[in-house]
């Protein structure tokens, strides 16, 4: 039967692959995924990649593609949401108060692992939250900006960084870390994952996008730590 190609942010790999197999089982349509950074897949879609669906980890890149007229704006919707949390190595799971002294004490000689604020969405949200909580100036010099959330997570899991800022979904599936604090929802812009059907999409693409909102899909999203969207 027909085959759908989904270009998605690498951080959604586990959830989307699970949903993809469920979709295939239900509809008989095969779904293949190409995971890379949101920026890479965005530029690829712009360049005419054979993608039917684009799912970004960052609203900015969705806007970019809207402007580039590479997606169908009518189909844009948020497929999932996320929370932003602070994690520490499992061995050091004591909860953390999000105050300057507590944070600095916990970081100590180490560094606060975070996605690179200039380029990685998780980093950008993290910077926003820290700023709105008045913590940014204190920790700016103690950051370890990482290439992506998974590396951030790994650095914390291995104890290289005493603390890290990651999504709740990441924390949920890495057993070697513990969530020690959660940033309030209003400290950062909503963390949402917008999806859309591309301009070159096959007819069945919207159906998959719709499928992401079904209870079955929501269940899978929730299992790996994503928040539902309305």
């Amino acid at each position: 039967a027909e085959k759908l190609t989904v270009f998605a942010a690498a951080s959604m790999k586990d959830a989307l692959e699970a949903i993809g197999s469920a979709y295939t089982k239900d509809n008989g349509t095969e779904v293949v995924f190409s995971f890379a950074s949101s920026s890479a897949i965005a530029r690829q879609v712009e360049a005419g990649a054979p993608a039917d669906v684009y799912i970004s980890a960052d609203v900015k890149w969705m806007d970019y593609l809207k402007k580039a007229d590479a997606i169908d704006p009518a189909t844009v919707r948020n497929v999932a949401a996320n929370t932003l949390v602070v994690v520490a190595p499992k061995a050091d799971a004591k909860l953390l108060n999000l105050t300057k002294t507590a944070l600095l004490a916990r970081i100590g000689e180490g560094r606060l692992a975070i996605g690179t604020p200039e380029s990685v969405p998780a980093g950008r949200y993290g910077k926003a939250s820290l700023t709105s909580l008045g913590l940014w100036d204190a920790v700016e010099g103690k950051l370890a900006p990482m290439e992506n959330v998974r590396v951030t997570l790994a650095a914390v899991a291995r104890g290289e960084a005493p603390l890290g800022i990651v999504y709740g979904s990441d924390a949920a599936i890495q057993p070697d870390v513990a969530v020690v604090a959660t940033f309030p929802d209003d400290s950062h812009a909503p963390i949402v994952y917008p999806g859309a059907v591309t301009k070159v999409a096959k007819p069945g693409a919207v159906k998959f996008l719709d499928y992401l909102a079904t209870p079955k899909a929501r269940e899978i999203f929730a299992k790996v730590g994503f928040q539902p969207v309305d």
């Binding site: 190409s34 995971f35 890479a40």
Partner: protein, 231 residues
């Protein structure tokens, strides 16, 4: 540890296809470029040399973007290839080969150039005196004597093609069965916290292939060396 899954086997096969095509196209070009740099003096010599090093100097992702801009279906070269020859490189395994070839190119030119520079021009002179033209001399004197360098270059090129990731994922994305090489599959696994075992399995697979390649190249090199050493 589990055996490789069908998807992983597919990635391995694809890696050989991509690496093989990349070598097939890039090696002759690298030999030509190396010869030009080694034996000719022309204006823009150093510029040409520096250009060849660019994929080494720039982050691979940037090279990937440049490829995407040039060879995408709307890009100047990609558009031409598609419109006139019906060839699409972007998002195809052939594009992955292009990315691998471009990234491997600077690694291949140098060893070959060194090997060509080490060929005594007096032997080329002797060949000419004996009636061999420039091109014939190149093929029967220079090239065979530079063979150790060419083998080294092929090995490095193939290794780089196997490991190439940044430019590939940026240029041709990470499509299973089409552009997801071993290296990209490995990267993809590292993106999920529970992918470590699978990542390790693929890393070992990659290492085994690399070992095979090194052994093969050493074997050929030694046979060559024995010949040149007499016997």
């Amino acid at each position: 540890m589990q055996p490789l899954s069908p998807a992983e086997i597919e990635a391995v096969v694809l890696t050989f296809k991509v690496g093989g095509l990349a070598l097939l196209v890039a090696l002759p070009l690298a030999i030509f470029a190396a010869y030009a740099l080694a034996r000719w003096r022309f204006p823009g010599h150093a510029f040409f040399d520096a250009m060849i090093h660019m994929p080494l100097v720039l982050p691979p992702v940037v090279t990937g973007y440049v490829l995407l801009i040039l060879f995408g279906r709307h890009g100047p070269i990609g558009g031409f290839l598609y419109d006139y020859l019906g060839i699409t490189l972007a998002f195809r395994w052939t594009g992955a080969a292009l990315a691998a070839g471009v990234m491997a190119f600077p690694l291949m030119v140098r060893p070959i150039r060194l090997a060509i520079e080490a060929v005594d021009p007096k032997l080329e002179q002797a060949a000419e005196t004996l009636g061999a033209g420039r091109i014939v001399t190149f093929f029967i004197v220079t090239l065979p004597l530079a063979l150790p360098g060419i083998i080294a270059a092929a090995l490095m090129g193939f290794a780089k093609a196997m490991g190439e990731f940044g430019a590939t994922i940026t240029f041709v994305s990470n499509i299973p069965g089409e552009t997801r090489t071993l290296s990209l599959a490995l990267y993809t696994f590292t993106q999920s916290p529970d992918g470590d075992v699978a990542a390790l399995r693929l890393a070992i697979t990659a290492a085994i292939i690399a070992f095979g390649a090194v052994f093969a190249s050493e074997f050929v090199s030694r046979r060559l060396a024995r010949r040149l050493g007499g016997g």
